[in-house]
């Protein structure tokens, strides 16, 4: 009994109308899907189109979806109008350092939670998981006071400390380690490998897909983070690209075209990362069902 046999009720195959109906259904489905995709992508179309316009042409009735007078110059001007290079450098630096630390401490701790048996382990893990669901705003104030007292406001270190030790990474990696058979570690122990070498030489290489998921999710989260940098980074030299985007919003007038140019530049790296690592994103989310 195979699925294909049951898929088709008896007699359906010879009858023409059934096949036609199915084809009509398929065309209808694709029409719906294409319309939905177009609607979802519309804001991106607007972003791209406005980024190539003169500021005066951004709001016209009707909207020029394809600019009459394409301003490629916006994409060169933005580097001199605002310190875009600095913003990008800061964002790349923060995202990279936080991602690396999260990977290292997360996978290390996950090994302790998944492959070493000790008393109190599971209770501690539940405590970790519980804080993932806690709203960050609930402890934002004491965190801020601590950073002020430590004299760390307006430093990259404050953000690195706040974001590199999240429980989310531990949780994600631990879920993956639980799927690796314990016998593997057991065999390595008999061969005389220390726990640290089992982690480094056996488990870590085996968990590349999970590491990739965690790395991509953390990197993108940090890249897009707004509130963290907004609260902690005040000096313009320390700003990230997300803070920089707002520098075109003036008190009296805003340069919408350049704002969109900046948005395109901030979204582009994420798009590239997403296109290459799509399945790791999806897998990471489906595994955890939780967000960092």
């Amino acid at each position: 009994m195979t699925a294909t046999v049951l898929d088709r009720p008896p007699g359906r195959a010879q009858r023409k109308p059934g096949a036609t109906r199915r084809r009509v259904g398929r065309v209808l489905l694709y029409t719906v899907l294409i319309l939905a995709a177009a609607a979802i992508l519309l804001p991106f179309a607007w972003m791209l189109s406005a980024s190539l316009k003169r500021d005066n042409d951004v709001f016209t009735v009707p909207t020029q979806w394809i600019p009459h007078d394409i301003q490629w110059g916006n994409f060169t001007r933005i580097w001199t109008d605002i310190p875009m290079t600095t913003y990008l450098r800061n964002t790349v630096f923060l995202s990279t350092v936080i991602t690396l630390l999260q990977l290292l401490t997360g996978s290390f701790a996950a090994y302790g939670f998944a492959k070493v048996k000790w008393r109190g382990r599971d209770a501690l893990f539940v405590l970790y998981v519980a804080t993932i669901a806690l709203p960050w705003q609930a402890y934002m104030i004491p965190q801020y006071i601590m950073m002020v007292k430590a004299g760390l406001t307006d430093t990259f270190l404050s953000l690195i400390l706040l974001q590199a030790f999240g429980a989310f990474g531990v949780f994600l990696m631990r879920q993956y380690y639980m799927t690796i058979p314990d016998e593997l570690c057991e065999a390595a122990r008999i061969d005389g490998l220390s726990e640290y070498r089992i982690w480094a030489q056996i488990i870590l290489p085996l968990s590349k897909p999970a590491l990739a998921s965690l790395a991509l999710l953390t990197f993108v989260n940090t890249w897009n983070d707004y509130m963290g940098p907004f609260i902690y980074l005040t000096d313009n030299d320390h700003w990230t690209i997300q803070l920089g985007l707002q520098s075109f919003i003036g008190e009296y007038s805003s340069d919408y075209a350049m704002m969109m140019t900046g948005s395109v530049l901030s979204v582009l790296p994420i798009l590239v990362i997403f296109l290459f690592g799509q399945r790791y994103f999806i897998r990471g989310i489906a595994t955890s069902g939780m967000k960092g």
């Binding site: 899907l33 998981v129 934002m140 104030i141 030790f165 429980a167 609260i231």
Partner: protein, 313 residues
């Protein structure tokens, strides 16, 4: 709370919690090794998450400006909270936002998942399209949607114009329509994320159930009612909890899009915590609002959990 979260975490699709045989090893040695693995992360975790959580509760009963020693004031902060117009408005707005964001996102995500749960050409592309808004920077999303909602000149109002609406409602520039505009934006952003959870849930439903239903002559709608919906129960529950928590802590999207305005039309609890705590430096009072937010999320999660239990019986 902790049991509950562990339980909901277990519900995450491939969470593999298989029973392990208990073995007795040299106890203290393993304990030492175990702790040594966890310590690097634990130090950061305790110092920067656990201590602040406890401190927030302690501070909510104190008055503190950050310089002089904190003063114990009992429930004063909480009494003030319920008399404070701004905080009460923020509470109402947060509930308003959640009432829009939770059901709409859920419907959109489920609809997308049902549409895209097929083995056909191009499905991967459509899924990617639906998911991408979720990883787009919040600032870019907020700025673009603000422009789309621009009264008269924005594409949303031009679209409405086709249907005979001469003047749009003004969207983010008016107190009545700013919140709906924010909700639309956040549904657009979040639906792809929850779609993935629903897709994982749909794929966990055994195909034999559909085959059996088809043999019995069930229509597509009957199959949806009798197989899909019950099969999705654990996922729906997880999504409901995650969405509720997410709604109650909404912050940056609204903050960038409207700044809480016009007036206090979109001021939410998180922004009120930020305003009273970090801007005004009233650490005790801000912590009391944090505790309120925390308790709200806790109560809602527990209620949903209890409700789910009862329906399962």
């Amino acid at each position: 709370m902790t049991d509950l979260i562990a339980a909901s975490a277990e519900k995450a699709p491939p969470a593999t919690a298989r029973p392990r045989p208990r073995r007795r090893g040299p106890g203290w040695r393993n304990t030492l090794i175990g702790w040594s693995f966890i310590l690097p992360n634990l130090i950061g975790f305790v110092a920067l998450t656990l201590v602040p959580v406890v401190a927030a509760f302690a501070l909510s009963f104190a008055s503190w400006d950050g310089f002089n020693p904190p003063k114990w004031v009992g429930l004063k902060n909480f009494r003030r909270l319920f008399k404070d117009d701004a905080t009460m408005t923020a509470l109402r707005n947060t509930v308003y936002y959640a009432c829009g964001h939770v059901p709409l996102t859920m419907l959109a995500a489920l609809g997308l998942a049902l549409l895209l749960n097929r083995k056909m050409r191009g499905m991967a592309f459509f899924r990617a399209v639906a998911f991408f808004p979720y990883i787009t920077s919040m600032v870019a999303v907020a700025i673009v949607w603000n422009m789309l909602f621009n009264p008269q000149y924005g594409p949303v109002d031009q679209f409405l114009h086709w249907f005979g609406v001469a003047n749009g409602p003004g969207w983010t520039t008016t107190t009545g329509w700013a919140m709906p505009a924010v909700i639309v934006t956040s549904v657009w952003r979040d639906m792809g994320y929850y779609m993935i959870l629903f897709l994982a849930g749909l794929q966990a439903i055994p195909p034999e159930l559909y085959e059996a239903a088809q043999v019995d002559g069930a229509s597509a709608w009957q199959r949806f009612r009798a197989v899909t919906l019950p099969g999705l129960r654990p996922t729906t529950f997880l999504v409901l909890i995650l969405l509720t928590v997410q709604s109650f802590k909404v912050f940056d999207l609204i903050f960038v899009m409207t700044g809480g305005g016009p007036g206090t039309a979109t001021l939410v609890l998180s922004q009120q915590i930020y305003q009273t705590g970090i801007v005004d430096g009233e650490y005790g009072y801000a912590s009391a609002i944090s505790v309120l937010l925390f308790l709200l999320v806790l109560v809602l999660t527990l209620t949903q959990f209890w409700f789910n239990r009862r329906r399962e019986r």
